[in-house]
């Protein structure tokens, strides 16, 4: 994907989020909910951690290409005289460049000053010795390096974007389907409801993991494919929730009043029903976020996730699986992926619970 397109999408999504937040801040209901979440210290801390992860993912999503220069600092041109551009880097790439450049030969433990593997050296008097060579950057790797000598901290940080994209984009893809169909089924009833219920019963009767498997076998591995597959498999549950919520709202007095005034059905749907089911969407997005992040790792391990060339915690765990059998144990890559993943999923779970309690007391688990 070109950087221009990617940057535009990111900015568009940010603008949408900002607009929604602004619109919500004007409503008493959302303000009270925000206050309730902020009053819980645990939820607030979790929210801040989530914001940090989101910020890193954002830095890794905006980038640009720069013209390549030769050794003299002159602009590089191709045969027809056009300026040659590099592949482009995100802001995070530029910030982490010092870390990325610290390459080693192979494995090294966290903060070690010697290589993990020993090399045979022949001394002057003909004896061969097993020596652990010094690292290129002794004590320069907080979380060690992996098999090809890449810094594990760098890998973990670069994987954040994949995790966030899986967690958010999957639900984002499902929302338009779910919202339109759920609200229509609930409001119009009758044959519209029958058709939509039929559709989601058919789709939801295929087990998610098998649906994703079929989709990936057909379209190949990759982050976009995985997001679309999981989105298509998961719109049904949100659709069902929205249908139920609309059925409830349909009986509300303000809907009856709007009807009595002769407002058209579509206008009632978009002015009165949709704004009042948005909290269901937000709760579902946040609560589902963590399970999508976890699912990515499992699916990648099964060979139906992101490809091996996409940096993600799933690929890290997959690479590191056999490293536990080495002696001494190579644990740092596995543990790093695990800790970074837990650092995202645990706060998401806690924050999601707090958000649900604040927004929809009926769903409260006490």
């Amino acid at each position: 994907m070109s950087w221009f397109l990617q940057n535009s999408i990111v900015i568009l999504l940010l603008a949408l989020a900002a607009w929604l937040a602004f619109a919500a801040s004007k409503r008493e209901y959302w303000r009270l909910a925000a206050k309730e979440v902020a009053a819980k210290r645990g939820a607030l801390v979790c929210g801040v951690i989530l914001a940090c992860y989101l910020f890193v993912a954002l830095l890794d999503s905006i980038g640009w290409t720069s013209p390549m220069r030769d050794d003299q600092g002159e602009l590089l041109r191709n045969n027809s005289g056009e300026i040659v551009y590099d592949q482009g880097e995100s802001i995070l790439d530029k910030l982490l460049k010092p870390l990325d450049r610290r390459r080693e030969v192979s494995y090294s433990a966290p903060l070690a000053d010697k290589n993990y593997t020993a090399e045979t050296q022949v001394t002057e008097d003909g004896q061969s010795l097993r020596v652990h060579n010094s690292l290129n950057h002794p004590r320069g790797h907080l979380l060690g390096t992996d098999r090809i000598g890449k810094d594990v901290l760098w890998l973990s940080l670069k994987s954040i974007r994949t995790g966030i994209i899986i967690g958010l984009l999957t639900t984002l893809i499902a929302i338009p389907f779910s919202l339109l169909m759920g609200v229509m089924a609930g409001y119009f009833g009758g044959w519209v409801d029958d058709i939509i219920q039929y559709l989601y019963t058919v789709v939801s009767s295929i087990p998610t993991i098998l649906f994703v498997a079929a989709f990936i076998v057909i379209f190949g591995n990759g982050l976009p494919q995985l997001c679309i597959a999981m989105g298509l498999a998961s719109w049904t549950s949100l659709c069902r929730l929205l249908r139920a919520e609309t059925l409830r709202l349909k009986e509300a007095e303000y809907v009856a009043a709007a009807k009595a005034l002769g407002t058209s059905s579509w206008k009632i749907l978009f002015r009165h029903i949709v704004p009042n089911v948005l909290h269901v969407i937000l709760i579902t997005t946040v609560l589902r976020f963590s399970s999508e992040v976890l699912a990515e790792a499992v699916l990648t391990y099964l060979g139906i996730g992101v490809g091996a060339d996409t940096m993600s915690w799933g690929t890290m765990i997959n690479d590191a699986r056999t490293e536990l059998t080495r002696d001494p144990v190579i644990w740092w890559k596995l543990v790093s992926a695990f800790v970074f993943m837990l650092g995202l999923v645990l706060p998401a779970n806690i924050f999601g619970d707090a958000l649900r309690d604040a927004l929809d007391p009926r769903l409260r688990t006490q």
């Binding site: 058919v202 989709f215 499992v298 688990t365």
Partner: protein, 325 residues
């Protein structure tokens, strides 16, 4: 009762047809037999003749939905839709694209190892979840309850991959309690199944306990609980006799769905511990890009789920006398 049962079955037929059409659309319209042949043959050998030979060999050389050259009813029966998609309704899953073996035969062989692993996981999870949820519900509002709930959230936040990798590392490599992976028939299979089963139970502990706890708490706020307490019944009796029975209704009625879905196997555990079940079968088929097997497993998974749904519905009407037919 019988009328209701028949009505429910009649309602399921269009859903089954819908699933069949969806599977057909995904595997033959989106990804045509030509695409399939090219994917199977690879980039080096995908000349039109080779594609045609591959299609003839695997039975994909018929028209998709309408065969204009065939006489009479064969216009419809001599098509890919009828032979490869509709045929799955009467158990004809065809042959594997990569090995040529009968898929139905493979399924029959592999369903039992899957079941042998899934059943102890299912029972263990159910018992552990109910027990722990009961303990938490009994201690509601105390520090124990809060700590338990927090532990559940932590368990839910840990990837199941971590559980199986560390489980194998600890139990097999460090403590040498169980074999790393593999399978055997008869009683010898126990030692191969115990580690994956324990890992499977731990994986489901967090979310299950939390969910069941809400079922119990829902019941605890009901009037009959207050009445039972007012009668002077000890808290233990109230919990284990009155509340347990009512709280288990949503759990028990869903058992058919879980129980039947056990047959399709656990993809992750079976692959990791090399158990020759249906989950492993599916994963191997995905790696080999064997569309016939993936197609069959997707359809089978959906059919099993739909039958489970029907049984759950019936179980509900039996367990809860308030539901009138």
């Amino acid at each position: 009762m019988l009328v209701y049962f028949l009505k429910r079955i009649a309602y399921l037929i269009p859903i089954l047809v819908g699933v069949n059409l969806l599977v057909f659309g995904m595997f033959f319209l989106v990804n045509t037999p030509d695409d399939m042949a090219r994917q199977a043959l690879g980039e080096k050998a995908d000349s039109p003749e080779q594609v045609q030979t591959w299609k003839e060999l695997h039975g994909y050389d018929l028209p998709l939905i309408f065969n204009a050259d065939a006489p009479g009813l064969q216009k419809f029966s001599e098509t890919i839709f009828c032979k490869k998609s509709l045929a799955m309704f009467w158990g004809d899953f065809g042959n594997s694209d990569s090995t040529g073996k009968s898929i139905l035969g493979e399924i029959q062989n592999r369903v039992w190892p899957s079941f042998a692993l899934a059943l102890p996981i299912f029972l263990g999870t159910l018992i552990a979840n109910i027990y722990l949820a009961m303990k938490l519900a009994a201690a509601r509002g105390t520090k124990l309850d809060r700590a338990g709930q927090f532990l559940c959230v932590i368990l839910m936040s840990i990837s199941s991959l971590i559980f199986i990798i560390f489980g194998q590392y600890l139990a097999s490599q460090k403590l040498r309690l169980a074999p790393v992976s593999g399978f055997a028939t008869g009683l010898a299979m126990t030692k191969f199944l115990i580690l994956p089963a324990v890992v499977g139970i731990i994986t489901g502990l967090g979310s299950g306990t939390r969910l069941y706890r809400t079922f119990f708490l829902e019941q605890l706020s009901q009037d009959y609980v207050r009445t039972a307490r007012a009668k002077g019944l000890p808290e233990e009796t109230v919990l284990f006799k009155h509340v347990l029975r009512n709280a288990l209704i949503p759990v028990l009625t869903n058992i058919p769905i879980y129980l039947l879905s056990l047959f399709t196997g656990n993809l992750l555990l079976e692959k990791f511990f090399a158990i020759p079940g249906l989950g492993g079968f599916t994963i191997d088929a995905i790696a080999a890009q064997d569309f016939a097997i993936v197609r069959a497993m997707v359809f089978l998974g959906a059919v099993i789920y739909i039958i489970g749904l029907l049984l759950a519905d019936l179980a509900y009407t039996i367990v809860d006398p308030r539901i009138k037919l």
